[in-house]
Symmetry: C2
Subunit: 652 residues, 2 copies
């Protein structure tokens, strides 16, 4: 048989040859360095026969990251062997340990065990050390095929989980086992792929957690103990991952939202329906005011549409019946069905159509803080990031085709300004294109609508110099999109916002304007959301800042703390003076001691702690302690107030 | 028998004596001036026997307004006689005219006729003149009782409506007829009361309209022609009423909303669900921002709650099942019922309860622009004044009982400030009290909760010097209220807002705070809405101003119009300069002539029209035309901009 190398060269091999055979044929040095392969783009190991005609790429020790999932998979097996050895030395019989599945997951692996006694969290270190021992033994992995009968015989009477797994596999396909070392070491029913020797596994792994997991995910089955590990090709990656995990925990917006009294949920109100507490609502209002002001500058007109609407409108827009799963059940009013709106666009179309339009009225940019309701299973709800009703920073731009490029330039600029003001820099645009070849049902035929609009958006991206990637097949059925992707502080990639060009729906709503020649013309629509939804953006931003809100957003900008009670009058005067200047300030007049008050203010992440005592009063000053930066010594009250005003003004 | 005069004196009368008999007994002068009476507070005429033991008050020509409803009733009969005479002179037989009912209504009366040919609107004047003729004949009214048989005989075969009416009356009660003049004039089946002579009817009446009205309101019955009239005791009242009607038509917020592009409705979206167009949404946002700022000053904390909520919460609050008719049908989500919220209070209670509270946290004042949904029949919907979903300027104040007075003072002050800023002066407070005697089921027992809270509100009213009336029986079951009543520019009294003290519901929600002694205490709640709902306030304010919004609210504050095209550059520069200063200004660069542009700007009610030509450019000035005030001549652009800024600042 033949396989093909990356340079296109064909390689003649015996039937059943492996990637190791291929590497050896290319050269002994490659065979020595080989740790895995990719066959037809799919991760492959050195032990498995190659498919006829495969495009083959050999992975080597020079780029271990490329084969990291092979290593993670073998680590799961190494962990299983380590469990046997650890429980063996505890005196448990081999057959008292049963095993479920042990797959690779993002960043690592897990394995589900039925153990004679649970592994304690503290024992993870013992287990990990045992794994490092096994790795150091540099056990060689082998792969062999068995029949169903052989496989069943292997586990008969001693492991019901493996037996069930085998019974669930198709009858006529060969099954494979992977073994590391000798029969005495560890053998598992496994599809692979794996690294060829345990010694090739880099030491940058860590067991992170254990949890209960029902066998096959069903609560009718026994609960197994799942042990999680993470593994990376380099120490730096592992460290970064562990730091991010720690940070993610600290920054979890649900935790911060609770600790900082920003929002809450109530069983009596319902899941996925947030109640915004005063401080959270304050910041959200600031976000809304900020966007309103920006959008006023950019020529948007704010509109307001109702939250429920007749069935007919969503039939016209095409949301019904296709999007019905994403909508809640209808409410009957006087014999007609009304829905909680899942989208604002049909309403904005009605507003556009409410008055005749001429080319002089275009672009018409309608913005709304539009609350929409989309069905989510209760299990999928996540704090403010995934809720059942949320408020979009929504807008629809109605323009002539000739205005698309200019409007996209404005949208991109607005994005960049907003994200800059919020200190978000790790983001990029994705130009989402159709895939006519693989999905003609969705995208229809190529044609001038597609060509011209893609060209306009591309030109806008180039003109603004915005960083962007392309995503074939990511467009909507009604036109190309410009998505905004970002990487969070803790390393997760998220799609935060989207801008969609729509050249299909406007005609469904009979939208039109009179062009300069006096003819009727259908506008195109740009669906656009800068912050996405305020709820989700708030969740993101809370994690982004770890709750250390800049002074322009902080509900409490400064807290005055007195050295002793006799300074309280001065503190109150200062408070009044600062409030006069529209600063958000409080005095901590509780009976606690000064150090405790300072600690409380730090926990509350108040940007400025202002300490006043005899000296400060004499000099008309305060001792400033800036959150996250520490002591700044005495500052005159006047210059402090100007500083705060300036920072509010500049949003820093 | 005896009756009692206003001074308490008893008057001995024959059984069956009338108020005229009583007046004659008191003195001949009173009998001469008498036009009607009040018996036990109810309007009574001089012809009807008085009830035994009645409290009697004689109404005289000196205060004709007190007897105006007697006159209106007689006017309905006079109109019926006039119809007979007018149609008689047209040659129609008496029996070809049939009559329904002819009651008194607010400001006037109507009568429903089945006529051989419809009366044209232009003929109202002829009819009215005929009425004045009949009044001038000074026909005497008489009243007599008849049996059912006699009554039926009177109309048998010639008036099916009267026959049906008689058949619908109770069997054993005597029926009464009223006759004016002789049998040849006009006699009607009627309960009264009436004025004793047509000559006593003042000339200040007018027939205003005709319309179709189904007999007994059912579309299965024939349609009759209803003729409306209004009548007042004085010319001034009639004039004012007619002016108000004209104004009301011009100011109708539905008309202005359409003409000024403020809001719209769409059949596809649904009745009672407004779509706010850019200009309307702009003003509404200004109202919201204004209230937000004011409420910040007054120490309110803004919160946000979801629009749907679980059934259980409204059971706890007591809205379900009692208020179910005012709510929409539930939405089922994962097996549980959710409702569109009709009230925000339960949510605010949940927010209060989300964190432990101490006396130091009180008063907690939670404000929300809370959208609520209340069932309205489609027939009851009226523009923005009565909709199915609206946004309240809502707040709930949680405080200790000892803080009620102080909080009510603040609420009253806030009201007064806001209403002053909006130029609303014709309003007053109504202290709504319980009526233990007549409605013990609703109000329960008197007790310290009632006494103390009423005393606190009364003290707050007295301390602020606010104008107020009292309304016995107008309280809620959970406490006294302070309603805000106003009279609109067109004379209608409306209840625009309400403040309710609630000492019952907080304990249903287990609300509590730790008082200064370390004990748990239940707070009281003040439910409060300054603008009521933004939707309804907007409708009211639109009619109040006739759409002439003050410059701080106007979406377009100034429009620049050039004398000729060569001044356009200067106009654009000026526009940019003013926009730089955050003024909302446009240039009319259309191809219309200057006079047409000025007319357009006047129709759009733009506060300032700025005309620029050669002279203005030379002097760096504009010729100002202020809406509603006319030409102001040349004004330097600098001083104009300061003037606008100052007026925005002062909200004038």
């Amino acid at each position: 048989m033949q396989v093909f190398l990356p340079d296109g060269k064909a390689l003649d091999l015996q039937n059943g040859a492996t990637a190791l055979d291929a590497a050896s044929l290319i050269g002994p040095k490659l065979a020595e360095q080989a740790i895995g392969a990719r066959a037809n783009g799919k991760l492959w190991d050195l032990l498995t026969p190659l498919p006829e005609g495969a495009k083959l790429e050999i992975l080597t020790t020079r780029k271990p990251a490329e084969a990291i999932d092979l290593m993670r998979h073998t680590l799961a097996h190494v962990m299983a062997q380590a469990i046997l050895e650890v429980y063996g030395s505890k005196g448990f019989a081999r057959d008292s340990i049963k095993m479920g599945v042990g797959p690779v997951i993002e960043n690592g692996f897990y394995y589900d065990f039925d153990l004679p006694e649970p592994l304690k969290f503290e024992e993870l270190e013992i287990l990990e050390n045992k794994m490092r021992e096994i790795i150091a033994r540099d056990l060689k992995l082998s792969r062999y095929e068995v029949t169903r009968e052989q496989a069943l015989a292997e586990f008969a009477g001693r492991d019901r989980y493996k037996t069930e797994l085998i019974e669930g596999l198709p009858d006529n396909e060969p099954m494979t086992f992977y073994r590391q070392g000798s029969e005495a070491d560890f053998t598992d029913l496994c599809r692979g792929p794996h690294i060829p020797r345990t010694g090739l596994i880099p030491p940058h792994f860590k067991l992170t957690a254990t949890s209960g997991a029902y066998w096959r995910g069903s609560e009718k089955n026994p609960m197994l103990q799942r042990i999680y590990g993470v593994a990376f090709a380099t120490a730096a990656e592992l460290e970064k991952y562990l730091w991010q995990q720690e940070e993610a925990k600290k920054r979890d917006h649900r935790k911060l939202g609770k600790d900082m009294d920003l929002f809450t949920f109530s069983d009596e109100v319902g899941q996925g329906l947030p109640l915004w507490l005063p401080k959270g609502a304050f910041i959200r209002k600031k976000l809304e005011d900020y966007m309103y002001e920006k959008e006023q500058e950019y020529g948007y007109d704010y509109v307001i549409s109702p939250h429920i609407t007749k069935e007919a409108l969503y039939h016209r827009s095409g949301h019904l019946p296709y999007y019905a799963d994403g909508m809640y059940a209808p409410i009957e009013i006087e014999g007609e069905n009304y829905y909680l709106k899942p989208m604002n666009c049909p309403h904005h179309h009605m507003i556009f159509a409410a008055r005749p339009k001429s080319y002089r009225d275009l672009p018409a940019r309608y913005a709304e803080f539009g609350t929409v309701y989309r069905f989510e299973l209760s299990g999928a709800l996540t704090g403010l990031a995934r809720v059942r009703g949320f408020t979009q920073n929504d807008a629809h731009i109605y323009c002539a085709k000739s205005q698309v490029k200019e409007e996209f330039i404005k949208v991109i600029k607005l994005f960049e300004e907003v994200y800059k003001d919020f200190g978000i820099s790790d983001y990029w645009f994705r130009l989402s294109l159709p895939d006519f070849e693989n999905n003609p049902e969705k995208f229809g035929e190529p044609g001038p609508n597609w060509d011209e609009s893609i060209a306009a958006i591309r030109a806008a991206l180039e003109e603004t110099g915005a960083q962007f990637v392309e995503g074939i097949g990511e467009a909507t059925f009604y036109g190309p999109k410009l998505d905004v992707q970002l990487r969070t502080v803790v390393g997760k990639e998220e799609s935060i916002a989207t801008n969609q060009l729509d050249f299909i729906v406007p005609s469904r709503f009979d939208l039109e304007f009179t062009n300069a020649n006096g003819e009727k013309e259908t506008p195109v629509v740009i669906h656009r959301a800068i912050m996405g939804s305020f709820d989700r953006f708030f969740a993101f931003y809370l994690e982004h800042t770890a709750g250390n809100f800049p002074v322009w957003l902080a509900p409490e900008q400064a807290r005055i703390i007195t050295i002793s009670d006799r300074h309280l009058d001065y503190a109150k005067q200062l408070e009044a003076q600062m409030k006069q200047q529209k600063l958000r300030v409080t005095v901590d007049s509780s009976s606690e001691r000064m150090q405790a008050k300072i600690r409380d203010a730090e926990i509350a992440k108040v940007p400025f702690i202002l300490i006043v005592g005899d000296k400060e009063i004499l000099e008309n000053a305060v001792s400033v302690r800036e959150h996250g930066k520490g002591d700044r010594g005495k500052v005159s009250t006047t210059s402090l107030m100007s500083e705060i005003h300036e920072r509010v003004e500049k949003r820093i």
